[in-house]
């Protein structure tokens, strides 16, 4: 086999990205065990991919971490994998002949009763398992919501977090937004109290102002379930402002469309 050709055939990328067929996978795994160059090339591509994806990744909403954590905690208490039921107890055998004749009548009568009882117990058990799962689900959700709120409360309580109150410009005097800037982590959070609904082709964009220059802190969707929205961080800021921009945001703020402004 020509190892070089194989390496540059695109198989490495197919394998790593999960696009190879089962047959190609098996073949690739056996070749990379035989030829160290193939395993090395795979490892290099994996590292490059990892580096690029880690360097250039969007931040998931800050509250999602608490949700994931609560889901994992629930996971540990209630193992969902496996059959979830106790294994059947082994049946004890008795000496058959001695008892068989006398017992058979009793067994026949008893087994009818027993079967009925077992069936009832089984139904009860199934119902309570269902209830338990529902309760567990509700508990997980409630925990996640609580953890969310706790996280947000901690952010607000943190003495390193400074607050700017952004008030409406004459364009929209009732608008109000609070911006929180963490002076240690440089993270920026925002709480929207009131902003007019934008057209679907437009998005609000938050800016930090430093020595008269605007710094983009990202666009955000109008409807947000979160109380605190995490925006891009900024090293320093003297003021913050929000403008309405075409969907996706702009490089420079459109000053005629500034909705709120406030000093830090």
């Amino acid at each position: 086999m020509n190892v070089k050709e194989y390496i540059s055939s695109g198989i490495i990328e197919s394998y790593v990205l999960g696009l190879a067929s089962d047959e190609e996978r098996r073949e690739f795994e056996s070749y990379s065990a035989q030829y160290p160059e193939i395993a090395e090339a795979r490892d290099r591509f994996e590292q490059q991919l990892e580096e690029q994806l880690l360097a250039d990744a969007p931040a998931p909403p800050v509250a999602l971490k608490a949700r994931v954590k609560a889901a994992l905690q629930a996971e540990r208490i209630v193992p969902v994998d496996g059959d979830g039921f106790a294994h059947e107890a082994p049946v004890r055998r008795m000496n058959p002949w001695k008892w068989a004749a006398a017992a058979s009548v009793l067994v026949a009568a008893g087994s009818l009763f027993w079967a009925a009882q077992l069936r009832q117990q089984n139904q009860d058990l199934q119902a309570s398992v269902r209830n338990g799962q529902e309760t567990q689900q509700q508990l997980t959700e409630a925990r996640a919501r609580l953890a969310d709120l706790q996280d947000q409360a901690n952010t607000l309580r943190n003495p390193a977090v400074k607050m700017a109150s952004l008030n409406g410009t004459p364009k929209a005097p009732k608008s109000q937004v609070m911006v929180f800037w963490d002076s240690t982590s440089r993270d920026v959070y925002m709480m929207v109290k009131n902003l007019p609904r934008p057209a679907s082709t437009e998005q609000y964009q938050l800016w930090a102002l430093l020595n008269g220059k605007p710094v983009d802190l990202g666009v955000f969707d109008f409807r947000q379930e979160q109380l605190l929205i995490k925006m891009k961080g900024v090293q320093a800021a003297q003021a913050f402002a929000i403008t309405l921009e075409p969907h996706g945001g702009s490089v420079n703020p459109t000053l005629e469309k500034m909705y709120v402004y406030g000093d830090l």
């Binding site: 055939s9 990328e13 990205l17 991919l49 690029q52 969007p58 999602l64 994931v68 994998d81 996706g248």
Partner: protein, 178 residues
């Protein structure tokens, strides 16, 4: 939170297998962004993408024992878990009904518009440097999870051609990343 600690990959895997919470927290801090990125590129809807990411971390936690370091890096494994979960979500009945879209929609993907905040980072950004035809193939197979066979039928080109073109596109991707 020990976000500043870094673990060598082998140690991290061992700790994860012991269900160590600190290691998991690190895993989240370190990788959630990249995994969220690929999930959002498959499932555009932000809320749904968050649900998927939660499922992904639960799967990682459950299935960490099945990760085999001989077959690749931890990140690669997680990336595949994330991509598969996202594609499963998009393929799920509820999602399909909400989109009223059940068959391979070639017309839309043949002119993939760049969605701001979704397509302008990570692998998709790199892909944007490929030829349209190549990008479409990667989009259909990687981001939409169609088999080579389905793509060949939908685009009306021979199966062999789909395979060769895709392979060529993928090997160019590696050159671009290095």
């Amino acid at each position: 939170m020990s976000a500043k600690t870094t673990y060598p990959e082998g140690e991290l895997v061992t700790l994860l297998r012991q269900k160590d919470e600190g290691a998991f927290s690190y895993l989240y801090e370190h990788y959630s962004g990249a995994l969220y990125g690929v999930v959002r590129q498959v499932v555009a809807d932000e809320e749904l993408a968050q649900d998927v990411l939660q499922e992904v971390f639960v799967s990682i936690w459950r299935k960490i024992d099945s990760y085999d370091a001989l077959k690749g890096r931890l990140f690669t494994w997680m990336l595949n878990v994330a991509r598969n979960a996202a594609i499963d979500k998009v393929r799920s009945k509820g999602y399909q009904q909400s989109l009223r879209q059940t068959s391979l929609d070639v017309s839309e993907s043949s002119h993939p518009a760049v969605r701001p905040g979704i397509d302008d980072y990570g692998l998709k950004k790199t892909l944007s440097r490929l030829k349209d035809e190549q990008r479409q193939l990667i989009d259909l197979s990687y981001y939409q999870g169609y088999t080579h066979d389905q793509i060949a039928k939908a685009l009306n080109i021979p199966l062999g051609t789909v395979k060769t073109r895709l392979r060529t596109a993928l090997s160019q991707l590696r050159t671009m990343l290095s």
